[in-house]
Symmetry: C3
């Protein structure tokens, strides 16, 4: 069994931002020389997400509006977590979007459906944060 | 390490429908001859879900009502994604329900708890769509 | 390839409770002697969750309030599932929080970010329930 590990670093310019990282993960897979196995891609921070969905701007705007409805950023004092911090909403938003994606590796490629793209979802950005890519297989 | 891959195809008669696919996944596992490892089961489409829960009709009705409350289908123009399409709600519903399930394989069997059943959750159906089953182990 | 399996048992004193199980999972990893691979940690019951987030009491209170807002426990008859049972809300809450976490194993350690902690989330407790820890790798 082979294994591979890499950290991808991000620093968004906005508090909330979605970044398509599919080609970064494909780059990791090529480096790993693994052709059959599983890739785990996970946010290493608890106010960010890795998820799979469509790379369509309208939908990304819908996600923003929808998540703000389900877990509003403000007023900050609506959350007990917001004593020294102001990011409780980001913990909740990331819970909806998910921490991780597990993707099959088949024939040396990410085994994704026709519209599946891997995203980093940042909900408390403007600072350096990491995603872990771990691949096992052979 | 062994690996196995199979696509399961579904075409639901309704826009939204939940299908118990546990026996399909068990069939894949038997075919794979893998006795220790992990199974990844994921929707290959971004308006569908694979999730694990109870096979109980009342609960499935509760899911339908609950998801419609959290991410209503209509009016279609409430979502920016709905220019050429009308399925933004399906993208959001699938996000709540999850894209994938990872299940342990132990002693040649799906290592599920007493009431755990694997479901395909369709949120924009009436057309052919796929689920990927990938098994690695030995 | 090596594999390892263990069940962790919990019996909470309250209907809803969050328990930090990171050190339990680390204990499993040490027992397994696996140094590179993946750990799957999943609730074996469909009214409980395994998720990764922050071990901060204010945030845990925010989760409680937020989940009660999204999927209220009462009145029990708001859910069709609640004929013989009263736990439909627990099925929905666990859906939001997720069934499982997959964590990388690197250099013999759980490959977690700085604040990532693994939790058992109980939403219908006061009885014995299980979490599965499955590790594969070498």
């Amino acid at each position: 069994m082979k294994s591979y590990r890499k950290e991808l670093w991000f620093e968004t310019t906005k508090r909330r931002q979605l970044i398509n990282i599919t080609s970064d993960v494909e780059g990791c897979l090529a480096e790993s020389k693994i052709t059959e196995g599983l890739v785990l891609v996970n946010a290493m921070h608890i106010t960010a997400s890795v998820f799979i969905n469509d790379d369509e701007g309208g939908l990304h705007n819908d996600f923003e509006v929808w998540l703000e409805g389900l877990a509003p950023e403000k007023p900050y004092d609506r959350y007990q977590h917001n004593g020294f911090e102001d990011n409780a909403d980001a913990h909740l938003k990331r819970t909806i979007m998910g921490r991780e994606a597990v993707v099959a590796v088949s024939g040396g490629r990410l085994d994704l459906g026709p519209w599946e793209q891997v995203f980093y979802g940042e909900f408390d950005g403007k600072r350096k944060k990491r995603v872990l890519v771990k691949i096992i297989g052979e």
